[in-house]
Symmetry: C2
Subunit: 150 residues, 2 copies
C-alpha cells in the first residue's frame, strides 16, 4: 500500500516563495541556518522543495507571523517533531510491545512540552481577552443606564 502520491512534485524557490509568502531570500536564509534545507538540488545546483517542505514552511509561517515565535523557538519545536518522526520510524520496526509503549510515551512527552508552551501563551491571551470583554460589557451596561434616563 502507500502509493507514491507525490513522485515528482518538486518546486523551484520562486514557486515556493509564491505559495508560502516568504521571500526567496528568506528561504535561502532558512537553509543557511539549517532550519529548512530543501529536499533536493537539480543537476545545476538549483534548490528543489518537496510538498512536505512547503507544508513545513506553512507551519513555520504560522508560528512566526501569527504566534510570534522566534526562529530559535521554532527550531526547537521542529526538532521535537523530528524526534517524533524518528520515534515513529523506530516504532514501526519494533517488535517488543513494551518497547513500543515506551516509544509512544517518549513521543507524548515531547508533545506535552509543546502543549505547555502553547497553553502558557493561551492563558495570557485569554486573560487579556477577558479583561477587554469585561470592559465591553460594562460599557453596555452604562449605555443602558444612559438610555434609561432619557
Amino acid at each position: 500500500m502507500m502509493a507514491d502520491t507525490d513522485v515528482q512534485s518538486l518546486f523551484s524557490i520562486e514557486q515556493v516563495a509564491t505559495r508560502t509568502g516568504f521571500t526567496k531570500r528568506t528561504l535561502r536564509y532558512y537553509e543557511e541556518v539549517g532550519l529548512l534545507p530543501p529536499t533536493g538540488r537539480t543537476e545545476g545546483n538549483y534548490r528543489r522543495y518537496s510538498e512536505a517542505d512547503v507544508e513545513l514552511l506553512e507551519r513555520i509561517k504560522n508560528l512566526r507571523e501569527f504566534l510570534g515565535f522566534s526562529l530559535a523557538d521554532i527550531r526547537k519545536i521542529i526538532e521535537a517533531e523530528d524526534e517524533r518522526v524518528q520515534l515513529r520510524d523506530a516504532y514501526k520496526h519494533e517488535i517488543e510491545v513494551d518497547a513500543k509503549v515506551a516509544q509512544i510515551n517518549r513521543a507524548d512527552e515531547l508533545i506535552r512540552n509543546q502543549l505547555h508552551l502553547i497553553e502558557k501563551k493561551l492563558a495570557g491571551l485569554e486573560q487579556m481577552r477577558a479583561k477587554l470583554m469585561a470592559k465591553l460589557e460594562h460599557h453596555e451596561q452604562i449605555r443602558n443606564e444612559l438610555l434609561y434616563t432619557k
Copy 2:
C-alpha cells in the same frame, strides 16, 4: 474619597529594574523611544518611576516575553489604552447623553481592535493545541490496543 494611597511612592531606576526584571538599559531605552517615560525626575535629573509606571512595565513584560508582541505592537496597544483614558476623562465632564454614548462607542471600537488582534493569535494557538491533543489521544488509543494484545 479617593485617598492619596501613594503620595510618595517614587522609585529609582535600580529599584524598578529589580522589581520588573528589566535591565536599567532597557528602561532607559523605553524612555528613549517614548514607550514609557518615567513620571518624574529628581532635582539632579535622576529618573523617578511611579507605581503606575511599574504596573505598566509589568504589562509590557507580559506582552513581550509571554505573548511575543513587538514593541511596535505594544506601543499601539498602550496608545489605544491611553486614548481610552482620555475618553474616560472627557466622558466624566460631558453632560450631553448623546455625546456620552458616542464616547463609549468610540472606546468600544478601540477595545474591539485589540480583541481582534488577540483573537487572531488565540485562534492560531488553539489550532496548534488541538492538533497536539489529537495526537495524544491517538497515542492513547494505540497504547490500549497494544495492551489488549498482551
